[in-house]
């Protein structure tokens, strides 16, 4: 089910044009040629290959960029860094020992001296030893040095999210922790072509960024990805499906689940608008607000536990902005407030049926 949705979803993306833009980024979008609208035959890639391509391009275009992390040299446990060491040499693509705190701290140092450091954390679950460095150092570097130094060249990539059999420590979604930290950006792609463009944007963005890759989609999501060097704008949400009755907001792999729910809801006559947030921090409030003003209802869905998840921030902000327009409480369909379980994963996750039920109850409020 997830497979077909992801594939359908990916292919649909290739032909949809993002509707909302800020005027400042319209030029940028034009420059990228509206990445989604490629009519020539582009090779179909899965998510890990798209990320691999992005890394190849990033290292190619900047001689002072480096990729490092655990096991990246032979290609990584998810094969995202295949071929980089052979092509760019061990001086630029290298393994680190098993010390996440050291990896990120070391990356901050590299970035502070003007390099582009792409650090890989093998699973997002392992990012917590590095949390101190990210929150206390990376996020505050430019601020407390008065802009004398900055670690904008740092991008931290980590596979996150449920994978079906991951259990407690290979499935977590820690994006909410990082969204609470001013000074870093948090970006989550939903598909291969998005991932390539967003990753290149992140690497070239002058701010430290945590880039979470939905590991479930590494092999499952297949899409035509343009081969050239292109970037996608950060902090711009994308309306990937238009509707009039309810707005759904999500990111990453959860979007494919939400899209299935939207299709089912359409059969019941409910027209859903689906928004991919893409950048969680700083997030595009205007796009979501405009959509909620149109529909009057909002539903947010993410895999992370509901309490304190990023859905709470979105809900609070939208209620502040659209209080009189809302026709129903903001619904959050998220993971349960338990550690990510092993055998109970299907019950824990926000599945299509849970979302569908919430869509109906919100519309019929």
């Amino acid at each position: 089910m997830a497979t077909s949705a992801a594939q359908r979803f990916g292919r649909r993306l290739a032909s949809s044009v993002p509707r909302r833009r800020f005027s400042s980024s319209a030029a940028a979008a034009a420059a990228t040629g509206g990445s989604a609208v490629q009519r020539t035959q582009n090779p179909s890639l899965n998510l890990c290959s798209a990320i691999n391509q992005a890394l190849h391009i990033a290292l190619d275009t900047d001689p002072r960029s480096y990729v490092f992390g655990e096991d990246v040299s032979f290609g990584g446990v998810f094969r995202c860094t295949v071929g980089l060491a052979d092509r760019f040499g061990k001086g630029r693509v290298f393994n680190t020992p098993l010390c996440e705190q050291g990896i990120v701290g070391f990356g901050i140092g590299l970035a502070a001296m003007g390099n582009r450091a792409v650090a890989e954390i093998q699973f997002a679950d392992y990012i917590f030893p590095a949390f101190d460095q990210i929150v206390n150092e990376a996020a505050k570097f430019r601020y407390r040095s008065g802009n004398q130094f900055n670690c904008g060249g740092l991008t931290i990539r980590a596979p996150y999210g449920a994978v079906g059999h991951g259990g407690h420590y290979h499935s977590q979604s820690p994006e909410a922790f990082f969204c609470h930290v001013p000074g870093i950006k948090v970006v989550i792609p939903r598909s291969p072509s998005q991932a390539k463009g967003l990753l290149l944007s992140c690497i070239r963005d002058p701010n430290p960024i945590v880039f979470f890759e939905p590991k479930w989609l590494y092999r499952l999501a297949v899409e035509e990805v343009p081969e050239h060097d292109y970037t996608l704008p950060l902090s711009e949400a994308e309306v990937i499906r238009e509707g009039t009755d309810i707005t759904l907001v999500g990111w990453g792999a959860q979007l494919s689940v939400m899209e299935e729910a939207c299709l089912d809801a359409e059969n019941d006559g409910i027209s859903c608008e689906l928004i991919d947030l893409k950048t969680l921090l700083p997030w595009d409030k205007e796009t979501v607000e405009a959509s909620v003003r149109k529909t009057g209802r909002l539903l947010i869905s993410h895999e992370a536990p509901v309490t304190g998840g990023f859905g709470a921030e979105i809900s609070a902000s939208i209620v502040e902005r659209c209080f009189l327009r809302l026709q129903a409480p903001v619904a959050r369909i998220c993971g349960l407030d338990t550690p990510f379980p092993l055998v109970f994963e299907p019950f824990y996750l926000p599945t299509k049926n849970k979302i569908l039920d919430a869509i109906k109850s919100t519309v019929n409020y």
Binding site: P97, L98, K354
Partner: protein, 437 residues
Amino acid sequence: MSAASLSSAINAIRSSSFAHDRSALASNASHPSSSAFLGSTARLRFNPISSSAGRPRSSAAVAAVAASNVVKEKQPKSSVSGSNLLITKEEGLELYEDMVLGRAFEDMCAQMYYRGKMFGFVHLYNGQEAVSTGFIKLLKQEDSVVSTYRDHVHALSKGVPARQVMSELFGKETGCCRGQGGSMHMFSKEHNLIGGFAFIGEGIPIATGAAFTSKYKREVLKEEGCDHVTVAFFGDGTCNNGQFFECLNMAQLWKLPIIFVVENNLWAIGMSHLRATSDPQIWKKGPAFGMPGVHVDGMDVLKVREVAKEAVGRARRGEGPTLVECETYRFRGHSLADPDELREPAEKAKYAARDPIAALKKYIIESKLASEAELKAIDKKIDEVVEDAVEFADASPQPPRSQLLENVFADPKGFGIGPDGRYRCEDPNFTAGTAKV
């Protein structure tokens, strides 16, 4: 003689595995640092490596061992002649049975995985049985063991029934953690197995805390006879992690009854230990913190046992921690999803030839401790135990769905009681994601 052949193989192993460091080894041999650290009283009674008389002491491999402040005592009593064996018949059979159980269980895990009966990330212990058996068989039930994600065999050695471990792997209710932990999280209160940790290095501070408890009970609470020790197992990759160093410091500072056992199998998924570590000789990190560091051949269960006896004895007497580096090897890949393409076939073949079970079997037979028929009987018995475990796990029920919400907090259902007087998690909307908690 089998004892000599077992122990002399150390030379070959060490010289090939530390090939890059041959010069370093040689220089260590000629100038072992002998300064005692201030306040350290660490002593090892014997040099565990050269247990075969007659091997020249000057060889680089032999001397590169043990703590800087170790006094090189007389040779141990056991010699090559076999007249003074390291183990009795009962001990020998116990060790053999334990190692065969570990091996047969792991092989069965692989089969079950490929048949789809278990899932997730499974890390098998084939080839490293000597370390688990060598240490854990010396422990009492009250002693604690902390392990890593490669923990099935540690659980079995510690006494957790094979049925419970297999059920846990299948995710069934009768598993040791009621199916909630899976392969990487084996716990047993009864046998004092304080887990399976998926995250490397996370278990070491926890083991340190457990060791502190035991020392506290003895010295402050004055509980009689409380000499429980804690053994923490972890790998070579973990030795580059900050938590490891923090705990070495704390353990030596407070003289905790803990043994840090490094299962150095030379590879951390695909990263060779030699390429990830500035000084690959992990045992040296012990003396840097003031505790003895010992290197032992981890493919030889008798060697490991001798070192373990000493280390456990030290801990029980209150003399503090020991760092033991067991050089061993995993015959399979890092996990069942690992294609294992990076390791040289020659390296794998060399270690496969030093299979600890085959070596112990040879020793037992050549020392006339037991006959081949007795060992074969043990093999058969273990096969039956493992088959029974699979059947039991198959027949066990899946855990009820309500178990998902249990044990998040201390109250049995988690999340407390709601205003309507019922457990919040029993609100039907709780799992629909729209409940207010």
